[in-house]
Symmetry: C2
Amino acid sequence: MQRPLDVVTLGHAIVDVLSPSEDALVESFGLAKGTMTLIDHEDAEKIYSRLGPSTEMSGGSAANTAACLASLGASVEFVGTVRDDTLGTVFCHDIRAAGVRFSRPPRRDGPGTGRCLIMVTPDAEKTMCTSLGIGAHLGSADIDTGVVAGARVLYLEGYLCGLPESDGGVEAAVTAAREAGTLVSLSLSDPLWVELHGDALDSLLDRVDILFANEQEACGITGTTDVHAAVAALGRRCPTVTVTRGPLGSITAAEGEVAEVPAVAVESLRDTTGAGDSYAAGFLDGVVRGADPERCARMGTLAAAEVVSHFGARPLASLSALMEKAGLLS
Amino acid sequence: MQRPLDVVTLGHAIVDVLSPSEDALVESFGLAKGTMTLIDHEDAEKIYSRLGPSTEMSGGSAANTAACLASLGASVEFVGTVRDDTLGTVFCHDIRAAGVRFSRPPRRDGPGTGRCLIMVTPDAEKTMCTSLGIGAHLGSADIDTGVVAGARVLYLEGYLCGLPESDGGVEAAVTAAREAGTLVSLSLSDPLWVELHGDALDSLLDRVDILFANEQEACGITGTTDVHAAVAALGRRCPTVTVTRGPLGSITAAEGEVAEVPAVAVESLRDTTGAGDSYAAGFLDGVVRGADPERCARMGTLAAAEVVSHFGARPLASLSALMEKAGLLS
C-alpha cells in the first residue's frame, strides 16, 4: 500500500530549454528580465532559432516543487498534462525518477507537451518564454478529488490562475481541499503574471491557507511598494504568508507573528530558475513535519540555496540530507 | 560568400540523455564502464526507465568535435542524419547555434533521431548506450564530395566503421578526400568498438593521415599492451598518430618524432563525456593553423580540460579564448 500523500501539487507540465544568454539578446526580444511570458508556437520557433546551444530538462513550477518535496522525503503527487510525444516522455520519466507520483496517462491528441525557453543571463537571472501546449488543459475532470482530499496540503502555482483552460481544474481542486480540510497553498509565481492576472489570483486568496510570493509579486498584488505593508495586507487574508526577497532573505507572517529569516550564503550563484519553487518545497515540508513558521522559512531558504547553485531548477543533492546536516529536522 | 571549410566532420547525429548514476546501476545492466554499446529501441526504453532524472543535450562524437572546432574559430561543417522529430529539431538547433554548418534537411521517414543514454558515475566516467536511429543511415548519396574536396581536413568518428548503413558514406567521403588532397583523420572512438569492429577500422588505417585513439583503443587495435609499441606500430601506417592517456597526457608520433605532452590539471573533473572529441578538435585546429605536432597535442589537451570540467560534451567557455590565454595561438 502507498503512503498517504503529504502534498499534491498542481501545475503546468513543462520541459525547459535552458540557454546561457547575454542581456542584449533578452532585450532584443523586448522581454523584461526575471519574468515569464506566454508565447505561441510561432514565436517560440523564432526565439529558439536565435538562442545559443541549449540543454533540455524537465521543469514547470509546481512540478519542480514536487521534485524538491520528494528529495526532502515527502510523499508527493504532481497533477498536470502532457502529450504522448518525446517531451512528454521526458517529463514523465524525470518526475517519476525524482520520486514523485504522476499517474495521469499522456493525452493522445491536442497540442504538444509544453516547453519553456529559459534565457539565463550572466547575473544568474532567468527570463522565460513559455509555450504551454497541452499543459494548459487542466479541467475539473483531470482532478482526482479523492487524492486531493487525502493529502495534507494542496499546492497550486499561480500560473494556473486566469487561464480559462485550467480554471475548472483549480476550482475542483480547491473545493475538494477545503471540504476535506486539506491545506491550500498558492504561489503568486511571477511579477508579470500578477500584473496580468491579479484579479484571478486575488479572487482565490481568501481560500488560501499558505501564500508564497516574492517581494515584487506581494507588492504588485497589494498595490504597495512597501514589502512589510504587503505582508501585513496579505496576512489579513491568508493565515500564513511568506515573502522571499532574494539576498535579503524572507518575511513570514503566521499565527500573529512575523519572522524574518536571512538568506543562506550561496558560494556560486549560477541560475535562479526554480528558486521560488524550491523555497515553497522546503517550507511545505516543514509544514508537513509540524515545524513552526520560522523553521519552515529556514527550510525553504536552504532548499533554494541548493537549487540556485547549479544550472537547472531541480535539486542535484539530496535535500533531506542538507536539512539533516543543518539541524533543521531535529 | 562563405569562408572555405577548415574541417568537415562525419558522424552519428545523436542527442545525449545524461544521467548521474551510481556504479551499481551501471553494473546491473551488465555494461562495461567507459564503453559505448549499441542498443535497440526496446532496451533503450528499459534502461531509461531505471535511470534517474536526466538532462538532454546534443551530442554525437564527431558532432561534438565540430562544436569544439567552431568554438576554436575554425570553419567547420558536420555531416550526419536526423529525422524531422523533436530530438532532430534539438540537434539541428544546437549544432547551428554552436556555429557549425549543418546543411542536410531532416529525413521525413525512417527511424527517429538517434539518442544516447549516458550514465555518468561519481568518478566522472561515462558509460554509454546508443540507439542510433536514423543516425546510422549515412550512404554515399549523403556525401557532398565537393564539400569534402574543398575542406582542409575530413574527420571521421570510428563509430561509423563496421556498420553497413554507413559504409557507403565513409567510402565516398574518404575517396573524395584522398583525390582532392584533403587530410583524412579518424578517431578509434571506443575500446569496445575496436574489439567489435577492429577489422573495419584497420582496413581504413592506410588511408588515414591523422589517427586519434586513447591508450586502450591503440593497444586493442595493434594487439599489444604497451602503449609505446602501439604508437610505433600505428605510426608505421599513419603519418600522424596521437594517443591520449587521461591523466598521463598524450603521446604523438609525427614526422619521425615522438612528443609526450602532460595532461592539464583540471580543478574539478565532472564528466569525461566528450574528452576525446574535444582533444581531436584542439589537435585539428592546430593542424589547420600550421602548428607543429606537439603544439597540436597541447591544444587538444587544453580543449579537453575545458570539456571534462563540466557536465556535457560540448564547451561552455570559448575555446579560442582559452588557447589565446595559454599562449597557444601566438
